[in-house]
Amino acid sequence: MKVLTDIHTDFAAVANSRDVMVADNAHWKTLRQQAKEQFERNGLPGRKEEDWKYTSLWSLGQEQFVHQVSQPGYADIHELKLVEDAYRLVIVDGRVDLTASYLDGLPEGLTVTPFSQSIDRASEFLNQQVNLEKPGFNAMNTMLMNEGIFIEVAANTKVDKPIELIVVNSGHTAHYAMHLRNVIVLGKDSQATFIETYAGNNQANGLTDVITEISLADKAELFHYKLQRESLDHYHVATMAASQAADSQWHNTNISLGGKLARNDVHSQLLGEQSHVTMNGLYLVTGEQHIDNHTRIDHAVPNTTSEEVYKGVLDEQSHAVFNGKVIVHKDAQKTDANQSNRNLLLSRGCEIDTKPEMEIYADDVKCGHGSAVGQINEDQLFFLRARGLDEVSARSLLTFAFAVDVIERISNEELKQSITGVIEKRLPRGGA
């Protein structure tokens, strides 16, 4: 059986109760109906499904998730925001928190609203980047999602400030499940920075299911940062998918720190010539965490480039999975694709499964990938100890140096500082 059949939450019933909201929008309604049928047919993937080979959804299936909150909990936004000056949307326990949000004075050409307030416009872009048939959460998300952020940047607009989305699962309602959809549309020759943070209080033990769909027109450029720092009892499943027109650029940074089970699917389709995607990722796993990153880059036309660096630090009994797929389609000549995945293992009991894949159907290409699994270099450790650092500090310093490489690639200085701070606190053995 390729399908997980033992699912305790009746997701379909929840979807029925949410149908009221979509009544006005025919397109959304159709999609939701299709998604429901698809979900009834296929449910969630089992481990026989190649893309879920190393990640079992069994325990997620066993959970009884709750989809109603009587009252949203509290979230300390000052703690969570990564940049001071930003257009900000805050969602706590599935509901927009208007007091914590800041959406005033949007410049001309920029639309930022909760999904629920731009249903008609946002629905036009729904499910363009994700496929309901794909084994995973696309069908579930499509039939259940009821909030998120909608961003539209008009042609020739350079957004002056970052746009920040903060999603919090307060843990106020146990086993609470959120299903969100973000839609980001960048017009011709526009530019924006989007930062998304997913956080939760320690006791949160629910599910965050989110899909971010991105559409980049010619020459559009999106700087996109995702920080996932949810509680260690929480489930997080996310997809970020973009289609890129000619000369567009998507710089994606994906940092995963939290979650009992976290899965990211990052997908770029390079559909226009001279388009470029950067995928940087960092995952720090500890305890019994399980973090799975699946990335996919489709070079569909000639002269496109991609650059991917994913790094992981594994401690205690944790388990990490990396699967990076680069597909160079027929006639996509002059593709330049580079991918690397490096993992640092700190303790007995952890496990890494990595698979950098390439499928190449054109000959005039430059494609390379590498992956490595190793531990702290004894010579480097000796060097630091000889200079008076104790063993614990020396190890922490070396671990930090390994991880910080991904952070160094962030171009926004303020963001780089705040993310570095988060990483330092989170690193095994307290950072350097």
């Binding site: 007995r348 005039d364 430059k366």
Partner: protein, 482 residues
């Protein structure tokens, strides 16, 4: 398409040079597969009871299995009932005792293929256990090997003469239920080689078997078992060519290697079976299970393969590193042209402490072919200080071919060091220009560049094979630069 491409394509269209068919009366079972066929094969082979039971167990399990579909290859469904599972060259009452007694037609076939069976064999120091379709026809140097206690014989003979070794080792590396094709092979295998190197013996010559598929409609199910006891060494060569046929022929071999304490086995393959014509018609389906167990401490197994033939190759020579300090190596060149499909690679399973493995894989795709590397490196939780280095490079020739890489890496021990690197490129205009400027024609330039690309692997081959392999590379790729 530029002039150069056209010129090259013209050269590529050369016919398969080993394509001829020897007309010898064959003694075949009618097509079809059933328990009776399994019983009959066992009967013809004069096998003891335990072997029949073993085969039937495999057959019964095979019936419950499904055809694997995960490989990156496409082919029409195989009708296992249309295959004949046994074919032997007509037997003379006592069988040939020397070359003089061997059917001269057979000898001419080998001659054409350049198999050093007679005088040349002795000069080359190669002992050949030639498998013509399914029965071993001739063994050379057997006596010389016997002096040192080395057993080198057809596996059917070994089953009769050394049942204790067969009972102990057959299926111990590749169990009957291992996979679909291994189960099929276990049920119906007709012949193959058996090698046993006793303790402390270094095999004085390279052992070699030339396989050849001849009769039409005959699936070839070889079974090879090599056991290297403590402190022994053996180098084994396997090479194949097949005559041109229009029907797809199924080949599902199983090779098992067992290396005990400090033993070393070197297994080299040059595979040049008929790949089908330029439209993908005909050609061999090569679904092989090859696996080695480094059972003893400090043992070593090295697989080297040059794969240029077959319509479809589905082959993953693997090493299970059980003994502490054991070493596994895999060197591979896989060439696909026209409509060929290859899904090949290796598995290195690290279980013992201080085990290390090296994987060097070179894939070359031309024409409309598809060439995939699929590998697994697994470091078990108790494999302290395990080390793996993997390098897989692909060379693409022409804009209609494809190259894929699927490396699986699973690490469960924090002391492991695993590195994987892969690259894809094509022969650059610059390289070609450089060669041509120095007076080489395109064909020689390509051959030279390709040989350079594969050098790391070719140099692992024994001398005789290295020459053949280089020629093969040139032959398979003539004129495929785009």
């Amino acid at each position: 398409m530029n002039d150069q491409t056209q010129q090259l394509e013209a050269i590529t269209q050369k016919e398969y040079k080993a394509g001829f068919f020897t007309d010898i009366e064959s003694d075949s079972l009618p097509p079809g597969l059933s328990e009776d066929v399994v019983r009959q094969i066992s009967l013809i082979k004069g096998e003891p009871e335990f072997m029949l039971e073993w085969r039937l167990k495999a057959y019964r399990h095979w019936l419950t299995m499904e055809t694997p579909e995960w490989a990156h290859v496409h082919y029409p469904e195989i009708d296992y009932q249309a295959v004949s599972y046994y074919s032997a060259p007509k037997k003379k009452t006592d069988g040939p005792k020397s070359l003089d007694e061997v059917d001269p037609e057979l000898l001419r076939t080998y001659e054409k293929l350049g198999v050093p069976l007679d005088e040349r064999a002795r000069l080359a120091g190669v002992a050949v256990d030639a498998v013509f379709d399914s029965v071993s026809v001739s063994n050379t140097f057997k006596d010389k090997l016997a002096e040192q206690g080395i057993l080198f014989m057809p596996i059917s003979e070994a089953i009769q003469e050394h049942p204790e070794l067969i009972k102990k080792y057959l299926g111990s590396v590749v169990p009957q239920k291992d996979n679909y094709y291994a189960a099929l092979n276990s049920a119906v295998f007709t012949d193959g080689s058996f090698v046993y190197i006793p303790k402390g013996v270094r095999c004085p010559m390279e052992l070699s078997t030339y396989f050849r598929i001849n009769a039409a409609n005959t699936g070839q199910f070889e079974r090879t078992l090599i056991i290297a006891d403590d402190d022994s060494y053996v180098s084994y060569l396997e090479g194949c060519t097949a005559p041109m046929r229009d029907e797809n022929q199924l080949h599902a071999a199983v090779v098992e290697l067992v290396a005990m304490d400090r033993a070393e086995i070197k297994y080299s393959t040059v595979q040049n079976w008929y790949p089908g014509d330029e439209n993908g018609k005909g050609g061999i389906y090569n679904f092989v299970t090859k696996r080695a167990a480094c059972r003893g401490e400090s043992s070593k197994v090295s697989w080297t393969q040059v794969e240029t033939g077959s319509a479809i190759t589905w082959k993953y020579p693997s090493v299970v590193l059980q003994g502490d300090n054991s070493i596994g190596e895999f060197y591979s060149v896989a060439v696909t042209n026209n409509m060929q499909q290859a899904d090949t690679g290796t598995k290195m399973i690290h279980l013992g402490k201080n085990t290390s493995s090296t994987i060097i894989s070179k894939g070359i795709s031309a024409g409309r072919s598809s060439n995939a590397y699929r590998g697994l490196v697994r470091i078990g939780p108790n494999a302290e200080n395990a080390r793996n280095y993997t390098e897989c490079d692909s060379l693409l020739m022409g804009d209609k071919c494809a190259a894929h890489t699927f490396p699986y890496i699973e690490v469960k021990n924090p002391t492991a060091q695993v590195e994987h690197e892969a690259s894809t490129s094509k022969i650059s205009e610059d390289q070609l220009f450089y060669c041509k400027q120095r007076g080489l024609d395109v064909e020689d330039s390509v051959s030279m560049i390709v040989n350079g690309f594969c050098k790391q692997v070719i140099r692992e081959l024994p001398m005789e094979f290295a020459v053949e392999a280089q020629n093969l590379l040139g032959l398979s790729l003539e004129g495929s630069v785009g």
